[in-house]
C-alpha cells in the first residue's frame, strides 16, 4: 500500500496544499522549519487522528487557513484507490470518512481493516519515526507493538489477539473491578454485604420474642398481686365510708324519736282523709246553694224582660200594605235608570238622521227617507258610470288619431314637388342606346371599363345616394345610385358599338340626342349619365305622389270614426240624465255622487225607525212611576208619617215603615217565648231548695262526730296528725338508709355501735390514706395492662414478621446472581489468560524470523561489524554480537550504533508485518544524522532497498542526505 496523494486543507503551516507521491522512495527535502515534521505528523493525523499537545492545546492548528485536516489517497497492491478524509478542530478522531474503491463509505472500522490493525502506536514506532522514536528501544517491546506485528501474522485479520485481549479485559472490567462499586458484580457483592448486615440485625428476633413473652408473664404475675392488694384496700375503704356515712344518719334518727315522744299520740287515730270528707261535704252544700241561686236569678230576669216589651199593633194591622208598597218601591231606581237610557238612545238616533241630511245637503227628512236605495238602484249608478267613461275615452282617442293623421298629411303635401314629364328623357336615352349599339362592330361586346370610368361610376352612385339621403329617402337613394353607377359603367361600352363606316347615321343619332355631330364618345357617355339621373328622379317623384293619396284616404276614415264615437258619448249622457230626473236629482250629478245620496238615505231610514221605538218605551215607564207614588203617599199618611215629593225621601220613608213592621212582629214572638221560660224556671226552684237543706244537715253531723264545732277546728287536728305521720316516715327512711350503709338490716346494730365508738375525724383521715393507696395501685395495674398490650402487639408482629425471610430470599437470589456472574467472569478471565499465553508463545516462536531479518540489516549497515542480535523472549533487553563473538548490550553501544541497531530491528519488524499483510508506507524523519558517513551510506542503501518493497518517505533538511538517498535527484521533493 502506498500514499498516492496528500491533500491538506489546513494543518500547521500548510493550507490548501497537495502532494502527489510516487511508489518507492520519495525524499522530502527542506530547510529547518520548512515543515517536514509537520508533513509527517499530518500523515499520522490523517491516518490515526489528531493529537493534543501536552498542555492540552490543539496540535498543529490550521493557522495558515482552511479546516484542519485533509485527504490521503491510498493505492493498494491490487491498484485500488481508497480515500481517507479526516477533519477536526480538537484532539481525537475528528470526522473521518473512508471511501472504498466501489464508492462505499466507511469509518474507523474500515480504516482498521485497511491498515491491518496497525494503530497509532505501531505506526509511530515502527512505520513513521523520527530520531526520538528511533532512539527508544522500549517502544518496540510494548505488547501493543509486538501484538500488532505478530497479530498481523496470526491470520486474524485486522484485529489481532491484542484486540481480543483488550475486549476481554474491557468485558471483565465491565463486570468487576477490584476497587470499584459500580460494575454489576461489585454491586452484587455490596448488596450481599448489606443484606447480611440487615439479616444479622434482625436475627435477634427470637430473643426479642422470648424477652417479650417473659416480660409479659412477669407483668401478668405482678398484676395479680396488685389486684389482691387493691381488693383489700377497697374493702377497708368501704368500711370506713360506711362509718363516715352512718354517723349523721344515726343522729337524725335520735332526734325524730325525741319529737314523736313529745306529741299527742291520740291523733294517730284520726282518719287521714277526714279533711277530704269535710271538703267534699262543704262543696256539695255550696253546689246546692249555687244551683238554687241561679234559678231564682234567671226567673227575675225573665219577668223583667216580659214587663218591658211594647208591641206596634198599627203596623201589624196594615202589614200587607206595607209589604206591597215596600216591594214596589224597589223598582223605582231601576225605572229611573231605564228612562235615562231610553232618552239617550232617542237623542243618539235623531242625531244620526240629522248627520245624513247634512251629508247629502239640501234634502228634507221625508224626501230622503223615501229614496230607493235598493241594490239594483245602486248598481244602476255603477253601470251608468262605466258606460259614460268608456264612451268619453273612445271619443277622445279617435279624435286624437284623426288630428295626428291630418297634421302628417299636411306636412308631406308641402314637402314634395310634383313629378316632371319623362317622355323627352326617354327618347333621348333610346337614341343614345342606339348610338352605343352603332359603335360595336359585331355582337354586343362590352368594353372593359377603365379606371377612370370605374371612378366616375362610384362617384355617381355615391352622389345619388347622398341626394336620396338628403331627401329623406335613403332606400330610393341606394337603388338609384347603384343604377346610375351601372349605367356609367355600361353606356360607354354600348356607345362603342357604332362602326366608323356608319358615321352619318351616327351624326343623326347624335343630333337626336341633342349632341353635336362630332361629339366624342365621352360626351355621349356624359349625356347618358345625365339622362339616367333625370329618369331616376322622375321615378322617385311618381312614387311620392302615390303615397300621399293613400294618406289622404286614411285621414278621411279617421274623421268618420271620430264622429261615430262622439255620437255614442251623447247617447250615454242622455240616458244618465233621464235616471237623475226620475229621482228628482240635479241633472249634473255624477253617478258616484248619486250613489253617495243613496247610501245616506239607507242609514237615515234605519236610525229614524229606532228613534221612534225608543220614544214609545219611555212613555210607558213614566206612567208606571206615577201609580207607585200615589199608593205610597196614601200609606204613609195612614200610619202617621209625612209623604214627600222627593222620590228618594219617599223611598226612605217606605223602608223605615218596613223596619217598623219587622220590630212589631219580633216583639210579639218574644213575649210568647218568655211566658214559657218563666213557667219552666218555677218548676225547677222547689227541688233545689230541698237539697240545700239536706246538705246543711250532713255537714253538721260530720263536725259533731269529731268533737269540733267548725270546719277550721277539724282542719287543725288533721294538720297535727299529718306532722306526726311525716316524722314516723322519715324515721323509717333513715333506718333503711342505715341498713344500706351497714350492708343489711342485721348489721345496723353493729355498725351503730361502731359509729358511736369511733372518732369521725380519724375515720376521714384513714379513708384518705386508703383511697390514695388504691389509686396508686390502679394506676400501676393500668400501666401494666398497657405494657402487656404493647408486648402482645410486638409478639404478634414478631410471629408474623416476614422481613427476615424476605431478606434471606433476596440474599439467596443475590448470591445466586453473583455466583452466576462470577462464573461468567471466571470463564472470561481464564479465556484471557489462555489467549495471552497463546500470544506470548506465538511471539516467542515467531521472533527469530524478525531477529534474523534485523541481523541482516544490522550487519549490512555496520559493514559486517555486528553479525548477531540476541533478544531473549520476555526480556526487553537486546544484545549484539560481533563477528568475533564479542557481545554487547545496547547500553554499551555508541549512540549511532544503537540507532543503527534499532533501525535494523524496525526493518525486521516492517518486513515481518509485510509477510502477512499489505506493506504499509514507511516514513522517516532525518534518522541518519547521528550515523557516520560510511554507515549512513550503507543505511541509505538499506532504505533504498526497503523502498523496493515499501513506499518510503524520507524527510531531511540535509542536502547531503537527500543526495545520498537520491543521487539523481529524480525522487526528491523540495519543501519551500
Amino acid at each position: 500500500m502506498r500514499i498516492e496523494r496528500i491533500e491538506l486543507d489546513g494543518f500547521g503551516r500548510f493550507h490548501d496544499e497537495t502532494w502527489s507521491l510516487e511508489p518507492g522512495l520519495t525524499v522530502v527535502h527542506g530547510a529547518n522549519e520548512a515543515g517536514k515534521t509537520t508533513f509527517m505528523n499530518a500523515v499520522r493525523a490523517l491516518l490515526f487522528g489528531f493529537d493534543a499537545t501536552r498542555e492540552g492545546r490543539t496540535w498543529y492548528p490550521a493557522f495558515a487557513g482552511g479546516r484542519r485536516g485533509g485527504r490521503l489517497v491510498l493505492a493498494t497492491i491490487l491498484d485500488e484507490r481508497w480515500v481517507i478524509e479526516r477533519h477536526g478542530e480538537r484532539g481525537g478522531g475528528g470526522a473521518l470518512t473512508v471511501r472504498a474503491p466501489n464508492g462505499n463509505q466507511g469509518g474507523q472500522e474500515t480504516l482498521d481493516r485497511l491498515l491491518h490493525g496497525a494503530d497509532r502506536d505501531l505506526f509511530a514506532n515502527v512505520f513513521a519515526f523520527g530520531l526520538g522514536e528511533l532512539q527508544d528501544l522500549h517502544t518496540l517491546s510494548t505488547s501493543g507493538v509486538r501484538g500488532r506485528i505478530y497479530g498481523a501474522g496470526a491470520g486474524l485479520g485486522g484485529a489481532s489477539a491484542v484486540d481480543l485481549e483488550k475486549a476481554l479485559r474491557a468485558d471483565l472490567r465491565d463486570m468487576f473491578v477490584p476497587s470499584g462499586s459500580k460494575p454489576p458484580l461489585n454491586a452484587l457483592l455490596s448488596r450481599i454485604e448489606s443484606l447480611r448486615a440487615e439479616i444479622a440485625g434482625l436475627a435477634t428476633q427470637p430473643q426479642d420474642y422470648e424477652a417479650a413473652n417473659a416480660e409479659r408473664a412477669a407483668i401478668e404475675a405482678r398484676i395479680l398481686v396488685r389486684r389482691e392488694e387493691s381488693r383489700a384496700l377497697r374493702e377497708r375503704a368501704s368500711r370506713l365510708r360506711s362509718l363516715r356515712d352512718a354517723a349523721p344518719v344515726l343522729a337524725e334518727l335520735d332526734e325524730i324519736a325525741v319529737r314523736l315522744d313529745a306529741g299527742n299520740a291520740a291523733l294517730d287515730d284520726l282518719p287521714t282523709d277526714v279533711v277530704a270528707v269535710l271538703d267534699r261535704r262543704i262543696a256539695q252544700l255550696e253546689a246546692a246553694q249555687g244551683s238554687l241561686a241561679t234559678i231564682e236569678e234567671e226567673l227575675a230576669v225573665a219577668c223583667r224582660e216580659r214587663d218591658a216589651i211594647r208591641v206596634d199593633r198599627d203596623a201589624l194591622e196594615r202589614s200587607d200594605e206595607i209589604v206591597a208598597v215596600h216591594e214596589a218601591g224597589g223598582g223605582v231606581v231601576a225605572r229611573g235608570a231605564s228612562r235615562a237610557e231610553l232618552g239617550a238612545g232617542v237623542a243618539r238616533h235623531a242625531s244620526l238622521v240629522d248627520d245624513q241630511l247634512a251629508r247629502v245637503g239640501g234634502w228634507i227628512e221625508p224626501r230622503l227617507l223615501e229614496l230607493d236605495d235598493s241594490i239594483p238602484s245602486v248598481q244602476a249608478t255603477r253601470d251608468a258610470e262605466e258606460r259614460l267613461a268608456a264612451a268619453r275615452a273612445d271619443a277622445a282617442a279617435t279624435a286624437g288619431r284623426w288630428q295626428a293623421a291630418r297634421a302628417d298629411l299636411e306636412a308631406r303635401e308641402t314637402e314634395i314637388t310634383p313629378a316632371a314629364s319623362t317622355d323627352d328623357v326617354d327618347e333621348r336615352r333610346r337614341t343614345l342606346r342606339e348610338l352605343q349599339r352603332w359603335r360595336a362592330p359585331s355582337g354586343p361586346i362590352l368594353g372593359r371599363p377603365g379606371p377612370t370610368r370605374t371612378a366616375v361610376a362610384i362617384g355617381v352612385a355615391l352622389a345619388t345616394l347622398a341626394i336620396g339621403v338628403a331627401l329623406g329617402w335613403p332606400v330610393v337613394g341606394v337603388v338609384v345610385g347603384l343604377a346610375a353607377g351601372a349605367i356609367v359603367l355600361v353606356l360607354p361600352g354600348l356607345a362603342g358599338l357604332a362602326p366608323h363606316d356608319r358615321s352619318s347615321e351616327r351624326a343623326a343619332l347624335l343630333a337626336r340626342a341633342g349632341l353635336p355631330s362630332d361629339a366624342e364618345e365621352d360626351a355621349v357617355a356624359e349625356l347618358a349619365d345625365e339622362l339616367a339621373t333625370a329618369r331616376a328622379r322622375a321615378d322617385l317623384a311618381r312614387d311620392h305622389a302615390a303615397s300621399l293619396d293613400q294618406r289622404r284616404a286614411e285621414v278621411i276614415r279617421l274623421e268618420r270614426a271620430r264622429d261615430d264615437a262622439l255620437a255614442r258619448c251623447s247617447e250615454a249622457e242622455g240616458s244618465w240624465a233621464t235616471w237623475l230626473s226620475d229621482r228628482d236629482m240635479p241633472a249634473d250629478l255624477p253617478p258616484s255622487a248619486a250613489r253617495e245620496i243613496l247610501a245616506a238615505a239607507g242609514v237615515a231610514r234605519t236610525a229614524a225607525a229606532e228613534r221612534e221605538r225608543l220614544r214609545g218605551q219611555l212613555a210607558s215607564l213614566e206612567q208606571e212611576e206615577d201609580r207607585h207614588v200615589a199608593r205610597a203617599d196614601a200609606l204613609l199618611l195612614g200610619l202617621g208619617m209625612s209623604p214627600s215629593a222627593d222620590a228618594e225621601l219617599r223611598g226612605a220613608s217606605v223602608t223605615a215603615l218596613a223596619g217598623r213592621l219587622d220590630r212589631a212582629r219580633a216583639g210579639e214572638q218574644r213575649l210568647v217565648a218568655l211566658a214559657s221560660a218563666i213557667t219552666r224556671l218555677e218548676d225547677r226552684r222547689r227541688p233545689a231548695a230541698d237539697l240545700v237543706a239536706q246538705k246543711t244537715e250532713e255537714l253538721s253531723q260530720l263536725l259533731g262526730a269529731h268533737g269540733v264545732s267548725s270546719a277550721d277546728g277539724l282542719r287543725s287536728a288533721d294538720a297535727a296528725a299529718a306532722s306526726r305521720r311525716d316524722l314516723q316516715a322519715r324515721a323509717r327512711e333513715v333506718r333503711f338508709h342505715l341498713a344500706g350503709i351497714a350492708g343489711s338490716t342485721e348489721a345496723v346494730e353493729g355498725l351503730a355501735g361502731e359509729v358511736r365508738a369511733t372518732d369521725a375525724t380519724a375515720v376521714e383521715a384513714e379513708l384518705a390514706d386508703v383511697a390514695a393507696e388504691a389509686e396508686r395501685l390502679d394506676a400501676e395495674v393500668a400501666e401494666a395492662h398497657s405494657r402487656i398490650g404493647a408486648l402482645a402487639a410486638r409478639i404478634s408482629q414478631l410471629e408474623a414478621a416476614e422481613e427476615i425471610g424476605a431478606l434471606r430470599q433476596e440474599l439467596a437470589i443475590v448470591e445466586g446472581s453473583a455466583a452466576a456472574m462470577a462464573r461468567t467472569w471466571a470463564v472470561r478471565a481464564v479465556t484471557l489468560r489462555l489467549l495471552e499465553e497463546t500470544r506470548h508463545r506465538y511471539e516467542r516462536e515467531r521472533q527469530p524470523d524478525v531477529i534474523r531479518a534485523a541481523e541482516a540489516h544490522f550487519a549490512r549497515i555496520t559493514g559486517g561489524r555486528y553479525t548477531r542480535i540476541v533478544a531473549p523472549p520476555g526480556d526487553a533487553s537486546v544484545r549484539v554480537e560481533t563477528d568475533g563473538g564479542e557481545s554487547r548490550v545496547t547500553d554499551e553501544l555508541s549512540r549511532g550504533t544503537a540507532e543503527q541497531l534499532y533501525l535494523a530491528l524496525r526493518f525486521g519488524l516492517i518486513e515481518e508485518f509485510a509477510r502477512h499483510a499489505e506493506p504499509l508506507p514507511v516514513v522517516m524523519d532525518d534518522i541518519l544524522v547521528n550515523f557516520d558517513a560510511e554507515r549512513a551510506a550503507r543505511a541509505a542503501d538499506a532504505i533504498r532497498d526497503l523502498a523496493l518493497r515499501h513506499q518510503v518517505l524520507y524527510f531531511t533538511c540535509h542536502a547531503w542526505t537527500a543526495e545520498m538517498l537520491d543521487p539523481e535527484g529524480t525522487r526528491t521533493l523540495a519543501l519551500a
Binding site: G157, F176, I813, A829
Partner: protein
C-alpha cells in the same frame, strides 16, 4: 399411588391411616436463583415452604388421618424465623382442632437445644415433641384404645454422630410400632452423616414402620419393615427436582402397610435442555423453547415451574447464542411469553452451553493462531494429569492467578464467593471447557472478519 407394601401379623390391630412428613425447612429461602423474579412470582417462591406445609396439613385433614409424624428439620437452626415457627404451630393447631395428634422429632437443622425452637410458642396439647433421651415412646389412642405406638428421639445438637436407631426398639405389647427418626441410613453420599445407621439396624429394630427424615429425595429404602424417607414437601434448590411431598400411610387390620406418595409442593424446579442441532434460526429456537416449557407445564400436575433453560450441542445458532445479551433477550422473550400464565412458568435462567461446529481435533492441528490457542488449552488441561510437577504447578498458578483478583484478592469476593470460587479441578474442567469455547468463538469471529 401405592408404592410400598408390607405385612405383619398382629392379631389385635385396627386399621388406621397416618401421614408421614419431614424436612419442612419452613420459611427458608429457595436457593440457587440467579435472577430476580417478578414480584408476584417472588411472593410465591418466598412462601413456598410454608405453603407446602399448609398443603400437608390440608391433606391430613382431607384424608382424615389418625395422626401425623414429622421426621425432623422443621426449621433451619442457622436461620430460624418466628414466622416459620408460627406457621408450623398454626398447622399443628389445625390438626389438633380436628382431633389429629402429631408427633415431632428434632433433626440436625432444628436440634432441641432451645435455639431453633422458641420456648414461648405454645404448641397444642395434641402435638407431642420427642425429647433427646433414648427410649421415649408415645401411644396413639383412638376412642381410648391404642392403635399404634410412636418411638422417637430428637437431636440435642446439630451434629449427632451416634447411632440412634440401634437404641430404638419396638414394644412387644404395642399394636403397631413406628420409629420416627432423622438419620442418614447407609451413609448416603452428599448428605451429612448424622445419626448414622444401617439397613440392618432398621431391620433389627422390631419396628413395623420407619418414618425417616434427612434425605430430601422421597422413597422407600427397605421393605421389611417398610422404611421411608418422606422427602421434602417443597424442593428448595435446583438440585431438588421433580415432585416433592409426603407419604400417606394406610395400615390395615392385618398390619399391612400401603404407603402412597402425595405431592405437596407449590413450585417445581424444571431444568430444560434444548439442543440447537436442528434449529435453523431464532424463531425455531423460540418455538422449541415454547414447546418444551409448555410440555413441562403439562406434566407439572398444576404446579408452577422455575425453568432453567440450557442451550446445548452444536448447530447454526451457536454464533447467535454466544453474542452478548442473546441469552438474556431469550430469557426476557420467554418470560413475556409465559407472563400471566397460571400456574406460572418462570424462566429463571438461560445458559448457553452450545459449542462451535468447528472440528476441534482438526483445528487443533492447524499451524495458526487458533491452533496455537487450542493447543494451549489442551496443554492446560493435560497439566492436571501431568507427571511433571513443574508443568502442573505452572499451569495451576497461571489459571489461579487469572481469577485471583476476584476470588482471592478482593475482600468481598473472598468472603462472599467462597462457595463459587473455582477450585483447581473446576478450573481445568468446566471453566476451561467454557473458556475454550469462548476463546474459539472470539478467534473464529475475528478470523471470519479477516
Amino acid at each position: 399411588m401405592p408404592i410400598g407394601y408390607a405385612w405383619r401379623a398382629v392379631s389385635s390391630l385396627e386399621s388406621f391411616r397416618f401421614l408421614h412428613t419431614g424436612d419442612l425447612h419452613l420459611d427458608s429461602p429457595l436457593e440457587g436463583l440467579s435472577s430476580e423474579a417478578p414480584p408476584e412470582i417472588r411472593g410465591t417462591l418466598r412462601a413456598a415452604t410454608t405453603d407446602a406445609w399448609r398443603n400437608v396439613v390440608d391433606l391430613a385433614l382431607r384424608e382424615k388421618v389418625d395422626f401425623v409424624v414429622i421426621a425432623g428439620d422443621v426449621f433451619e437452626v442457622a436461620s430460624p424465623t418466628l414466622l416459620g415457627q408460627t406457621r408450623f404451630r398454626d398447622g399443628l393447631a389445625r390438626l389438633a382442632a380436628a382431633n389429629i395428634p402429631s408427633f415431632v422429632v428434632h433433626g440436625n437443622h432444628d436440634p432441641a437445644d432451645g435455639v431453633a425452637w422458641s420456648p414461648s410458642l405454645a404448641f397444642p396439647a395434641l402435638a407431642h415433641r420427642f425429647g433427646t433421651a433414648a427410649g421415649e415412646s408415645a401411644p396413639v389412642l383412638r376412642d381410648g384404645r391404642e392403635i399404634a405406638r410412636i418411638h422417637g428421639r430428637s437431636y440435642p445438637r446439630p451434629a449427632v454422630t451416634e447411632n440412634y436407631a440401634t437404641g430404638m426398639r419396638g414394644a412387644d405389647g404395642a399394636p403397631f410400632n413406628i420409629g420416627l427418626l432423622h438419620t442418614n441410613v447407609g451413609d448416603r453420599p452428599g448428605h451429612a452423616n448424622y445419626a448414622p445407621c444401617s439397613l440392618d439396624d432398621l431391620r433389627a429394630s422390631g419396628m413395623d414402620y420407619w418414618a425417616l427424615g434427612h434425605i430430601h429425595q422421597p422413597g422407600k429404602i427397605v421393605d421389611d419393615p417398610p422404611a421411608y424417607y418422606s422427602g421434602i414437601p417443597q424442593g428448595r434448590d435446583p438440585g431438588e427436582l421433580g415432585a416433592r411431598g409426603c407419604f400417606l400411610v394406610d395400615v390395615d387390620a392385618g398390619g399391612r402397610v400401603t404407603a402412597s406418595f402425595v405431592a405437596t409442593d407449590v413450585v417445581r424446579w424444571q431444568p430444560i435442555d434444548l439442543p440447537i442441532t436442528d434449529l435453523r434460526d431464532d424463531e425455531a429456537l423460540m418455538a422449541a423453547a415454547r414447546v418444551a416449557i409448555g410440555a413441562a407445564l403439562e406434566e407439572a400436575d398444576e404446579r408452577s415451574l422455575v425453568v432453567r433453560l440450557r442451550l446445548s450441542d452444536r448447530g447454526p445458532l451457536h454464533a447467535s447464542a454466544t453474542r452478548p445479551g442473546y441469552v438474556d433477550h431469550l430469557k426476557l422473550l420467554l418470560s413475556e411469553e409465559f407472563d400471566g400464565v397460571r400456574p406460572f412458568a418462570w424462566v429463571e435462567s438461560v445458559r448457553d452451553a452450545t459449542r462451535s461446529e468447528v472440528d476441534l481435533d482438526v483445528r487443533r492441528e492447524t499451524p495458526d493462531f487458533v491452533g496455537d490457542f487450542l493447543r494451549t488449552v489442551s496443554a492446560a488441561r493435560r497439566s492436571a494429569r501431568s507427571t511433571d510437577p513443574e508443568e502442573h504447578a505452572r499451569w495451576q498458578a497461571l489459571l489461579r492467578s487469572s481469577v485471583a483478583s476476584l476470588f482471592e484478592e478482593s475482600p468481598r469476593g473472598r468472603r462472599y464467593l467462597r462457595a463459587t470460587a473455582p477450585d483447581d479441578e473446576l478450573l481445568v474442567g468446566d471453566i476451561i471447557d467454557d473458556a475454550e469455547a469462548l476463546g474459539l468463538d472470539l478467534l473464529l469471529a475475528v478470523e471470519g472478519d479477516g
